[in-house]
Subunit: 405 residues, 2 copies
């Protein structure tokens, strides 16, 4: 019996409330430009420190040692799903993030408007980052393509220059094993969609026809006369949080991708205000309705990817202040962590373990009295893989029976 | 997808340099005769300590908790191969360590000259540790046995009283599932070679004929009138470091066994001077030619096995001084660790986790400012299995892509 099998056998319902706060990409490494501190070390975080002193802390390995996770695997792990077994494609992520309801068998692709030269080469892969309004206008033009060879085409505009295309087939089988048409560089023509089995070879031919028709429709808009497709994928077959954990769960996340992941796991998507304070207020407003809340803070990752140490510190300090709102309406179990590290000095996701804090009436407390990477090295939780966090949350919420007699 | 599968999918090439320094058997336990310090704690190591203060440290479990590894599993793990799945036999290790080129299907055995009494019992399993020159002379005599029953016999002298025999068959299948003829005690006759399947039963009969003929040829040399065979084994089927990691790698190791392991993984064997300083100089001379360097220091293990605490301290201090040479020509990634522990008070390999230090521009640094077993308990790397070290080295060298969207 593996860990997941044991968990399925011992999970039970009760009325406890669990809040998981994900500071996206919060993990970092000591930065020589800031007195060899990490943003979490550098930030003034009295509330986090006080909470740490009443909690246990540790470090989590998102996927496996040395592996840098994308946002999909990073989050999947936090919710207790094995990121090495479940893959959520980028197209699916974007589609569900936009609130689209995927049917079984649908194939979704992430698309973005691009600028193409007269001789068919890509001048700008992002069409000079046109605003969302322009994308909505262009999508309305593309929407005149209703179906190709019996495959329904559903188009939905996203943020900026991005949109999603869903391919839905009633009669003929379609599959998502299709290479991107985005060559990832400018100066080259877009690639042809290429399938790798019967069902995807058929769909690739549909995609190529869709692209040809689409480019024709866009030809009178010189700076947005084409688009690139990538991340062809199908909805994965996964248990909902309700079925897996007996948890009614809700996501308080602003960004499409994280809302998308949450919706795939059956979480209710709550409206998420722009302010960090607002995220916690949304929790309080909805506290009675759900058992589990996933609160997503994007600013930490954005700052990390921008290499902006001070912005990361600033975001952490905002979270620290807003934490008061949560602590005044304290749930039974609180966890604060990240889905991965995004060190400012690397300007990207990284492989470094993330710090994690766990607080409940039964969490115990260790000797650590602040919340940062190196303090967490010696915490009461040790080093462990992110996929085990949910089990710890359920255990602290007294939602697990004893294993064995 | 397991860790190895993920790694295969994300590994990429670049121009970074990685140096892995293996202090054989360096791990130890606190020794009551030396103020309850370990040799690493007792040694004066200003360079190691400074490097530790700029690095992350941790502890590695060579094979699994409580398992004492031989040199084969210990090293295999360090290079990222699973020591519980890949076995390198002792015969093969010795053969490749002597620079012999094994063909697929060859069976190699480790042999040593022994002194046998008139009634066929072993008087000395090591023939009074005759010098290498004598072994070369005796091997030349045995080399007159070219083949038996169609199986070619290849003999190569090793260090001291040791030699290697390779059995090569063109027509009939041979297998290495043959028990040692060395009974591991004196006062008993050598055992008969015994096979356990058709191909090894056939080869065992060849081995027994080889031993009979060999003993006849040696009968006029009373103190070296026999030999014992052990470690019958075949070359394992493993990916080279180039194929697995996209690394051009080189070994700077003096001892046959470690050279043997390195050559099985496709490493180039560089000449290794006797001095520790010389090992690092060899690295500098060859720095431009390879991506990955395995530097092997034997003295720590030898001292541990001899129970010589001061000699172990002395060897560690030599490494510390020589480290300057490396740091002046700093590679992108440095790791310092051991393949296993060899506590002086145990005079043998042991199961204790080994200390490990990892330094790169992206390693981060933890609160640990010296390099020894107990300091490493609270480092930023935590406790992990040796087989994950290579992934961490590649990640620090920016040789891995992100996993998932």
């Amino acid at each position: 019996m593996n860990h997941e099998d044991i968990l399925q056998n011992i999970v039970k319902c009760n009325n406890s409330k669990i809040v998981l706060i994900v500071l996206d990409g919060v993990g970092d490494i000591r930065n020589r430009d800031y007195n060899y501190k990490t943003p979490l070390e550098y930030a003034k975080t009295p509330n986090l420190d006080k909470l740490a002193s009443e909690s246990v802390v540790g470090r989590m390995i998102p996927v496996s040692l040395g592996i840098t996770p994308g946002s999909g695997p990073g989050h999947i792990g936090l919710f207790g799903y094995d990121p090495t077994k479940i893959t959520i494609g980028r197209g699916v992520l974007e589609a569900v993030g936009l609130g689209l309801n995927l049917h079984d068998g649908d194939v979704a692709a992430r698309c973005n408007f691009a600028t193409i030269s007269a001789d068919g080469k890509i001048i700008d892969r992002r069409a000079r980052r046109i605003p969302t309004e322009k994308t909505i206008e262009l999508c309305n033009i593309l929407k005149s393509i209703k179906s190709i060879d019996g495959v329904e085409i559903i188009i939905e505009p996203g943020e900026g220059h991005r949109f999603v295309t869903i391919f839905r087939s009633r009669d003929k089988e379609i599959d998502s094993l299709i290479d991107d048409t985005d060559p990832q560089v400018e100066g080259k023509p877009p690639l042809k969609a290429k399938g790798h089995n019967e069902a995807s070879i058929f769909l690739a031919s549909v995609v190529n026809k869709f692209i040809k028709k689409g480019f024709e429709l866009l030809s009178s808009y010189p700076s947005t006369n084409g688009f690139l497709t990538r991340g062809f994928s199908k909805k994965p077959d996964i248990l909902s949080m309700r079925k897996k954990y007996c948890l009614e769960s809700a996501a308080i996340a602003a960004y499409p991708m994280y809302r998308g992941i949450a919706s795939l796991l059956g979480m209710k998507l709550l409206s998420a205000p722009n302010s960090i304070e607002g995220l916690f207020e949304t929790y309080i407003e909805n506290k009675q309705k759900y058992d589990f809340f996933f609160i997503h803070v994007k600013g930490t990752d954005q700052a990390g990817e921008d290499g902006n140490f001070e912005s990361k510190v600033n975001c952490i300090e905002k979270v620290d202040r807003a934490l008061n709102t949560l602590l005044k309406n304290r749930p039974d179990v609180i966890a604060i962590t990240g889905d991965h590290s995004s060190p400012c000095s690397m300007r990207s996701h990284s492989f470094h373990p993330v710090p994690v804090l766990l607080n409940s009436q039964f969490s115990g407390r260790d000797d650590v009295v602040c919340f940062h990477e190196n303090a967490c090295n010696v915490g009461g939780l040790g080093f462990f893989k992110s996929k085990y966090l949910m089990t710890l949350l359920l255990a602290n919420a007294k939602r697990l029976n004893k294993f064995g007699a």
